[in-house]
Symmetry: C2
Subunit: 360 residues, 2 copies
Amino acid sequence: MEKVYNFCAGPAMIPAEVLSKVQDELVNWNGLGTSVMEISHRSQDFIAVAEQSEKDLRELLSIPDNYHVLFCHGGARGQFAAVPMNLLGDSDTADYMDGGYWAHSAVEEAKKYCAPNVVDITCERDGKKAIIPASEWSLSDDAAYVHFCPNETIDGIEIRDLPQTDKPIVADMSSTILSREIDISKYGVIYAGAQKNIGPAGLTVVIVRDDLLGKAKQILPSILDYSVLVDKESMFNTPPTFAWYLAGEVFKWLKSIGGVAEMQQRNEAKAKVLYDFIDSSDFYRNEVHSDNRSLMNVPFQLKNPELDALFLEQAKAAGLVALKGHRAVGGMRASIYNAMPIEGVQALVNFMAAFEQQHA
Amino acid sequence: MEKVYNFCAGPAMIPAEVLSKVQDELVNWNGLGTSVMEISHRSQDFIAVAEQSEKDLRELLSIPDNYHVLFCHGGARGQFAAVPMNLLGDSDTADYMDGGYWAHSAVEEAKKYCAPNVVDITCERDGKKAIIPASEWSLSDDAAYVHFCPNETIDGIEIRDLPQTDKPIVADMSSTILSREIDISKYGVIYAGAQKNIGPAGLTVVIVRDDLLGKAKQILPSILDYSVLVDKESMFNTPPTFAWYLAGEVFKWLKSIGGVAEMQQRNEAKAKVLYDFIDSSDFYRNEVHSDNRSLMNVPFQLKNPELDALFLEQAKAAGLVALKGHRAVGGMRASIYNAMPIEGVQALVNFMAAFEQQHA
């Protein structure tokens, strides 16, 4: 198949223009006669990539000067350990808001390092899955920080509000970063695995407020130590250079289309097309309350689950791939990250309508 | 410049045939209409990549069945922390043989978790840098394991012998793996950052003997926990899929040329051309005793260091790039990893001879 629309939840689509440029220059980058993945991370050429990518990300997210930007190894799950080991200081607890699979996975790792105060923030509203408003979250007095995951990829749940607290707010933004405007100054630490809206898997972006450095536990592996990474400008060890370069190309692309504000508008438009269609149909349904529907991941069920396999098979034949839902919730899931054009969502809706007509 | 010979110490050259194939299929891999970096690590297509790459690596290195192969995040420096946290068990010491910059860096990280017994194994032999024979290394009785680095990239030192011990031998093989034949059964753990002989930076290969699992400290981040990675088949979190795929292509290439035995012959031939030329010249010199000269990294000095800059400039103009030595030793360094063809070494020697003739 020559070209498909790829709804994979991650590793997800890379913008087509970016991938095409990367292909063109893969064996001879910058006129050097080598691939970008074959040069030293300490070379002038790569340092220019590193600096430009940080500059572009700072511009895209309006990152204040008192925040550091780190490009790390280890994925978001690495940060599940790094966050408590970097931020707990003398405290032995932190608030963990549990809104789904990923927030809960962070809890499990945090338990190695502290006694987390775990708060179930899920609820039912109008018969749909929803999240308790952040103003009502039960925070503890002695927590070192408040951790949450603003987008649960499996359930298709998004949290847009923040609690009122003077504690640092820490957010796993793997599926949120760059998808909509965020006020970075409200957070202590933001981290994100790259494989949704940034670039290839294996790279992790961390944005950390200056005053939170210097509290790392002695047992923290240096590759996860924010102070070390700040000090060494993310080059304590050889970084995943190719993924970093590709992330930089994604940032340039995002700037070229108008930045995060424009991206948010496009993402809202894409999500609206799909949710509106699902809501207008008796054949498909989405279980999430409109307050908390994710812009990025749209799970949906067929009224008759016996048709799931046929749906997936015919969708694939129509060039609409990776629509199978996570095993925890079943059904389908359309992940419509930044790189998914609205034409892809329209093609999906057209297919869904035709499938419904055939099988309703 | 269209094509150069790239002597970078890492991230290093990728075999030209591999890079060309990767470029061809970058936007449409396996006929899926997507890039390999855009598909789920849990998809059948990627699992086939993961399985084949492990199978090929096992075949290339004759890895016995009682060893696990892991594809990890974090680089070799991640393993500097992972090794003590996985292997110390109840012991509070391990033997660290210090033969150079990288072995020493492993010591610094190990100090977070134990009181390492650090043994300086460097010596001078016939006025050259050398390493004390492994049979004479001072091992301690209560060490949980013996750690060493068989190839020091900065000094251009290689260690080919092993100590007699019933303790697990742990080796940082970042610059050794796949370059020459190794008897895996003599080791407890072998680890290697990918960016020398395997693939792009950001991937780490770990080979661990079965009986060493299950001793991990509770504080070990799960992404570095060998038992977790074994249990989840290196997919506890999203692995660096593109780097893994590319490593698999490098393994296929290595098999296609005849495997590690053939590669070792080629590497020995390449190194001989370069060392023989250096030894025949009064204009260049290498400081390492022939007992311990690295097959992979050949540092050399010009008699007159004032010519260094000119040498580098003219070499670059001749398509011979990344020859600058590490700042710790100065001069030049030619890294001639697996992907460097003998034609590249010959071109370097020809250039060196011409430069000598011009400036001697």
